[in-house]
């Protein structure tokens, strides 16, 4: 082995490890390695003194750290209060919903069975959406649309619900009453 190869073991020896017999024998005949070991041992001694140096008290530097802790704790409290307030609002809203009387049920869809299909139009498909519009319709308009009506005064107006399909066309009507404007 060369001196360079012994150096690793010499460093460990200098740090306090037990040397091997081979190393001790080498050292006895190698002044350079002996000096290297002396330096390492001296280094360890001063390092031990460095480790023993006093350091300042933690309390001396605590103020900014604790101030940061307090600041975070305060903002956390504000956050919690904010969440509590939001929770209270949500709870109040839920309670209001709970105690409010239910809205009336939406009107049921018209019973198309009572409607008279408009002549010459395609009837509504079963699932087709339509709206019901109540309007006053002159009898003359109904006759023009193809309804077979007994001869009456064309000035008479019929109030009826008109079933209007999505394309805007009247598909059926449900007469409600006859208004005589005369």
């Amino acid at each position: 082995m060369t001196c360079r190869e012994y150096r690793e073991d010499l460093v460990e020896w200098g740090r306090g490890a037990e040397p091997s017999r081979v190393l001790v024998v080498h050292l006895a005949g190698c002044p350079d390695c002996a000096r290297f070991l002396e330096e390492q041992q001296a280094l360890s001694a001063v390092l031990a003194r460095v480790m023993a140096e006093e350091i300042p008290s933690a309390d001396r530097f605590a103020a900014p750290v604790m101030a940061e802790f307090d600041r975070r704790a305060r903002s956390a409290k504000v956050r919690v209060l904010g969440w509590l307030a939001a929770g209270a609002v949500a709870a109040a809203a839920s309670l209001a919903l709970f105690v409010t009387p239910p809205k009336p049920a939406p009107p049921s869809p018209p019973d198309t069975a009572q409607f008279l299909p408009m002549p010459y139009t395609v009837p509504l498909a079963p699932e087709e959406r339509a709206t019901v519009v109540r309007m006053d319709i002159p009898v003359s308009a109904l006759i023009a649309a193809g309804f077979q009506l007994p001869a009456t005064d064309p000035a008479v107006t019929v109030q009826a619900d008109v079933l209007v399909s999505q394309d805007g066309r009247a598909r059926a009507i449900r007469p409600i009453s006859i208004l005589n404007t005369n």
Binding site: R15, L43, V46, L47, R49, V50, E53, F69, A73, A76
Partner: protein, 178 residues
Amino acid sequence: MSHLVERFREGDREAFATLYREHFPAVFRFALYMTGDRVRAAEITQDAFVWLVRHPGEYDPARGDLGAFLGGVARKFLHRQERTERRWLPLDESAADRADFTAGVERDQEAAELRRAIATLPERYREALVLCDLQGKSYEEAAAALGCANGTVKSRLHRARALLACKFQRRREGQKCV
């Protein structure tokens, strides 16, 4: 200890103060040995604890003790500071010699001189020396802290000691370190 950490996370001031007092010496020493400067060591130590306050959920007790975690945080702050300093002022031997030691009269001039010499070592050697020889960590613990192999720590430590012995011993004897 994990109980204290839990209480600290729940906002218990006294628990945090206890953790701070308990871990301050190790973090301060690590920063002091790495910088060779008490003022900078105090700053790094405060930065590490303030970071902990701001990121209480980052520490996972299952992955190691709080001391090692804080050492890692301090190390990151040191790297950041040294990167900034390198940009403006290379940290050579003369710069370290000019370092402002505010401790006043050093009780042990030789130890202070060695501390300054340590501060001039390349960072990777300095870290190995500080962790193993000044903080008493095993090669395994130092390797875990530095994120490298045990053998790497050992070779860096040996290189650090060889450099230090050269710089420190021979300079005192008025010899050039070759």
